[in-house]
């Protein structure tokens, strides 16, 4: 065996330190949040819409839905779910095509930034804005319409996991659907009708069980209906579970459907995501 003693290779240049992976993701998240907050349309559309809706609906329907439970108690669940879907699904489905079209994504791809950091930045933005928006919505409803907040830790826990699973599913689907838009402008045209139809059939604007059965069945395929149902178990008394289509709030099924949509979303993202526009090769 021969041993060759090599002179110690001098470290090529004193390489400075790049922020670690976690720090990179946080920086990316901060940048995304800054961009979001500075874009007036995003703030008004995403943050303002659910609040405007609750102001209108709670003012029109100020009665009760039986058992002394205020209509606000029912309606807030749809608004929270819609808000979470807007900040994740619609927000990403509209903005990613714009960024792709402008070449922002292409520019990121030309840097040593790990790909996942970009996705992490989007997720951090969605989570932060989603929390802020939900808190604002609850504050408005409590202050103006006497909303009763969940009274037990178990209910808050349900609120937490339904929101997290729902946002995750909607975020992944938003990233996936962004690849359907061919140009910057078409993102909104692809996403908005989907979101609007889901809102109408999932019990956001109407009491879900008042809808035609076939409509309820279509809605049951998509996540929004299950997010609303999960949230109803948080904001309505236990006894109201009997009025749900399944005879209870079916929290197990809520979890299963939302997790399934997360899986579908991941698969779609991995198979369809594009960093550049079609004309860009």
């Amino acid at each position: 065996m021969t041993t060759t003693t090599k002179p110690a290779t001098p470290v090529t240049a004193t390489r400075g330190r790049r922020p670690g992976a976690g720090a990179l993701a946080l920086r990316q998240g901060r940048l995304e949040i800054t961009q979001f907050l500075r874009s007036r349309e995003s703030v008004v559309f995403t943050m303002g819409f659910p609040i405007i809706m609750i102001l209108i609906f709670a003012s029109i329907f100020d009665g009760t839905i039986g058992g002394g439970v205020k209509f606000t108690q029912y309606f807030i669940t749809g608004m929270i779910a819609t808000g979470l879907m807007t900040v994740s699904f619609q927000n990403l489905g509209i903005w990613i095509p714009i960024e792709r079209d402008r070449g922002v994504l292409k520019r990121y791809r030309g840097t040593p930034m790990p790909k996942w950091v970009w996705f992490a930045g989007k997720v951090i933005m969605v989570v932060a804005i989603g929390i802020a928006e939900t808190v604002l919505l609850l504050a408005v409803a409590v202050a103006l319409f006497d909303l009763d907040l969940p009274g037990t830790a178990a209910k808050w826990f349900t609120f937490g996991w339904v929101a997290v699973l729902g946002v995750t599913a909607c975020t992944l689907c938003g990233i996936a659907i962004s690849s359907l838009a061919r140009t910057a402008r078409s993102g909104s045209a692809v996403v908005t009708p989907v979101a609007l139809v889901l809102q109408f059939i999932s019990g956001v604007f109407f009491v879900f069980t008042d809808l035609p059965t076939w409509m309820q069945q279509v809605a049951a395929v998509f996540p929004l209906k299950w997010m609303c149902q999960g949230l109803r178990s948080v904001f309505l008394p236990e006894s109201f579970g009997a009025q749900e289509p399944g005879g209870s709030f079916e929290l197990g099924r809520v979890a299963v459907v939302l997790v399934l949509w997360c899986v579908i979303g991941v698969v779609l993202c991995l198979t369809t995501f594009r960093w550049t526009t079609k004309r860009d090769g």
């Binding site: 390489r15 790049r18 990179l24 940048l31 500075r38 874009s39 791809r109 030309g110 840097t111 090769g281």
Partner: protein, 283 residues
């Protein structure tokens, strides 16, 4: 592999459907060189450069860029390559300084953001939102993002489009500085004066093929071409003659006129003349 080569390309081909964009390009770029790829729109410049940048897949051929196949770019390679794309990716809501600072975080040995802002001449605009910048200023931001990581190799795809003449001169100085510091530079342009001013060698690309590679003053045997001497006769008509020995010819003329020759010019084919002939042949 030849360590002296920053880029080595053999038999590169790329087609989009039936449209052959690059039809067999061979190319070497040496380390520390400024290489200009010159050609009309649709000649295959951007496709070639984007393959070298790791953005596009090639159909055939061997390509190494800084010793790595750009079809498999890794993070380390990305830190060594700076890219200024033709289309600019804009961050409308952010300021110049915010964007540059953010991108500096992607590189282990990034340059000082303030220094880079100064270098590209955007100090006055550092706090301006990028959507308020003029076309030329946006381009400078692109350049800043291309050099923030102190690349060994810098690609510039039509970097001075939209610049006013003064901004172009300043930009040329910046490129000369980078080149003097040892950065290898590959730029595409359709400005001939830019290629002539900056490049050590120019590759003329037309119809997806590299029709010639030479120093700008050697392109198309410009040096050896006949010179055109023209002058005015006392009657005011313009005369001209082709000559291989223009100095002797002018001395003769001077003797004939007994001193100053009215309206005297001596010209050789400009880079533009040579270039137009070349791409004309390729068509």
């Amino acid at each position: 592999m030849d360590d002296e080569l920053a880029i080595s390309v053999r038999g590169l081909r790329k087609a989009y459907g039936d449209n052959v964009a690059v039809a067999g390009v061979d190319l070497d770029v040496h380390r520390g060189e400024v290489f200009a790829l010159l050609g009309p729109n649709g000649a295959g410049k951007t496709t070639t450069v984007e393959i070298l940048e790791g953005y596009r897949r090639r159909d055939a051929g061997e390509v190494t860029v800084l010793g790595v196949d750009p079809a498999q770019p890794d993070a380390d390679w990305r830190t060594r390559v700076g890219i200024v794309l033709q289309g600019t990716g804009e961050f409308d809501e952010l300021t110049v300084a915010e964007v540059i600072r953010h991108f500096s975080g992607f590189y282990p040995d990034a340059d000082d953001p303030d220094k880079v802002i100064d270098r590209v001449g955007l100090t006055d605009k550092a706090k301006a939102r990028t959507h308020t910048l003029s076309g030329g200023q946006k381009r400078r931001l692109d350049v800043a993002l291309g050099i923030i990581g102190r690349p060994e190799l810098l690609f510039l795809d039509e970097p001075t489009t939209g610049f006013d003449p003064e901004a172009r001169r300043e930009f040329w100085e910046l490129i000369r500085d980078l080149a003097a510091a040892g950065t290898t530079i590959v730029l595409t342009t359709h400005y001939l004066d830019e290629a002539e001013a900056l490049a050590d060698r120019v590759g003329v690309i037309a119809g997806g093929r590299l029709v010639e590679v030479a120093a700008p003053n050697r392109l198309g045997n410009r040096q050896e071409a006949l010179a055109t001497v023209s002058w005015r006769t006392p009657e005011g008509t313009l005369e001209s003659a082709q000559s291989a020995t223009p100095t002797a010819f002018v001395a003769d003329l001077a003797a004939r006129y007994g001193g100053e020759v009215p309206g005297l010019t001596v010209t050789r084919p400009t880079l533009e003349d040579v270039y137009l002939t070349m791409i004309g042949h390729a068509r």
